[in-house]
């Protein structure tokens, strides 16, 4: 039993050492959305055939809202060195503060996302009112 505890402690130290090395070697820098075309491509990766036509891109490239011809919207944001996305539905809440739009998904682990959209923030906030009427099947797991 003592040996098992020592083995576990050594494992945890090794884990922390490896993670420190990853950080020290500057691996996996934060991803950024380069431009609207990149945002549309990311939305298509999250949902094949999403077909974005309009993009609200955060000034820092941290996140984007992508809208398709059917009026559906997808929130794409950086997740470490990769990206994660969620279809915006009626369970999302939005908060507009001048040029900033904050979206909060129902899934707490995904976290709130604040986009600096400048003068377009109001437009995207108003579009959120329509999303409840445009819900379609989404990937389940």
């Amino acid at each position: 039993m003592v040996f098992e505890v020592i083995k576990l402690a050594v494992s945890l130290i090794a884990v922390l050492a490896v993670v420190w090395l990853v950080s020290a070697m500057k691996l996996g820098r934060e991803a950024r959305i380069r431009d609207p075309a990149h945002a549309i491509a990311l939305a298509d990766e999250a949902e094949p055939g999403f077909g974005g036509i309009d993009v609200g891109l955060d000034r820092a490239g941290y996140a984007a809202l992508v809208r398709n011809a059917a009026g559906r919207q997808m929130l794409v944001r950086a997740h470490g060195a990769q990206f994660a996305a969620r279809t915006v539905d009626s369970r999302f809440t939005g908060r507009l503060d001048k040029g900033f739009l904050t979206l909060t998904p129902p899934e707490r682990a995904f976290g709130s996302v604040t986009l600096q959209l400048g003068k377009d923030a109001g437009l995207w906030a108003s579009r959120m009112r329509d999303v409840a009427h445009n819900a379609k099947p989404s990937a389940g797991t």
């Binding site: 098992e4 576990l8 494992s11 945890l12 090794a14 884990v15 490896v18 993670v19 090395l21 990853v22 950080s23 070697m25 500057k26 691996l27 996996g28 820098r29 991803a31 990766e45 999250a46 094949p48 055939g49 944001r77 997740h79 470490g80 060195a81 990769q82 990206f83 994660a84 996305a85 969620r86 682990a109 995904f110 976290g111 099947p137 989404s138 990937a139 389940g140 797991t141």
Partner: protein
């Protein structure tokens, strides 16, 4: 007296050494292959998995020994028995793994291994904590009923797991053709971890890729379709406990809210299934992608990726 073999204990230092080498390669070729928080989650999932295994392994061993008492044949410890046990265990692994992707109850445990959006050697150690709850062991212990000693089955399973470590990498492109034909390789397993529609639910093999070729679940890595890793609905979180339990929580919520006649289907049907069609399974995603692809004729737009990313 059966031999007491724990090959994984001896392999761990080699695992760490290979991870360090892969990190150096990543720094030179593609620094995005590693991410500190992702690596932390993966390695803690691996550490936690060994704890979970230590807590429940005794019960699985006891059950195996009970089955062994009822064995159909007396199989010796000869070399051919080891070889046969390894092949049959790998065959059992194929079916376990296939079920782990096609039955949500098993997926709830196995999803831990797939939830990283990175594909590197630390991903290999991203092992589940809840295999015992998912009763994943039922696929392997029938070997004891045939007559293989549980210690032999455990050792073969451990060697199989060790084999699968090195295939979790983007640092190796393709192996020689004869090797790719028979063995599971980094290329085949990248396909397995990918969420690109054409790759979903393919290449379940552990050591021998021949099982996928035999049972129609094989897909070759395409130079024009770079694998993107993770799960269809990416977690978007590095939270360790969320990574471990999110699918179990999802099952619990669905069991609670679904109509009575559909409740069990949320545990036993494939991931993504829903009684009202509000979600998508991997088959539905693939079908939609194929329909969209044929409409837009995307073939002409595809470009090779392997030359720039594999090393």
């Amino acid at each position: 007296m059966p031999p007491q073999i724990s090959p994984i204990d001896y392999a761990v230092p080699v695992f760490i050494l290979l991870i360090l080498i892969e990190m150096i390669v990543a720094r030179r070729r593609d620094p995005a292959r590693y991410e500190a928080r992702d690596t932390l989650t993966s390695l803690l999932l691996g550490t936690g998995s060994t704890v979970a295994g230590a807590l429940t392994g005794g019960l699985v061993l006891a059950l195996s020994l009970r089955l062994y008492e009822l064995r159909l044949f007396d199989i010796s410890w000869a070399w051919w028995a080891w070889a046969l046990c390894f092949v049959l265990d790998d065959f059992a692994y194929y079916w376990f793994h296939r079920a782990a992707h096609r039955v949500r109850w098993f997926w709830a445990s196995h999803v831990n291994h797939h939830s990283s959006q990175h594909y590197n050697l630390s991903t290999a150690l991203r092992q589940p904590w809840t295999s015992f709850i998912a009763v994943s062991f039922i696929f392997r212990i029938p070997l004891a009923l045939i007559g293989f000693h549980p210690a032999m089955i455990l050792a073969c399973g451990a060697v199989n797991l060790i084999y699968q470590f090195w295939i979790h990498t983007e640092a190796i492109g393709r192996m020689p053709r004869w090797f790719e034909a028979v063995m599971n390789t980094p290329s085949h397993h990248r396909v397995h971890h990918a969420v690109n529609p054409r790759y979903l639910d393919r290449n379940y093999a552990g050591t021998f890729i021949v099982w996928d070729r035999m049972f129609g679940t094989f897909a070759a890595e395409q130079d024009t379709d770079r694998p993107r890793y993770g799960i269809v609905r990416q977690l978007g979180s590095f939270n360790l406990l969320w990574a471990v339990f999110h699918e179990w929580i999802g099952i619990a919520r669905d069991l609670w809210s679904a109509p009575w006649r559909h409740k069990l289907s949320y545990a036993w049907r494939e991931p993504g299934w829903s009684h009202d069609g509000s979600r998508m399974t991997s088959d539905m995603i693939r079908a939609r992608w194929q329909a969209h692809r044929s409409t837009n004729d995307q073939d002409g737009e595809e470009r090779p990726w392997t030359s720039s990313t594999s090393s």
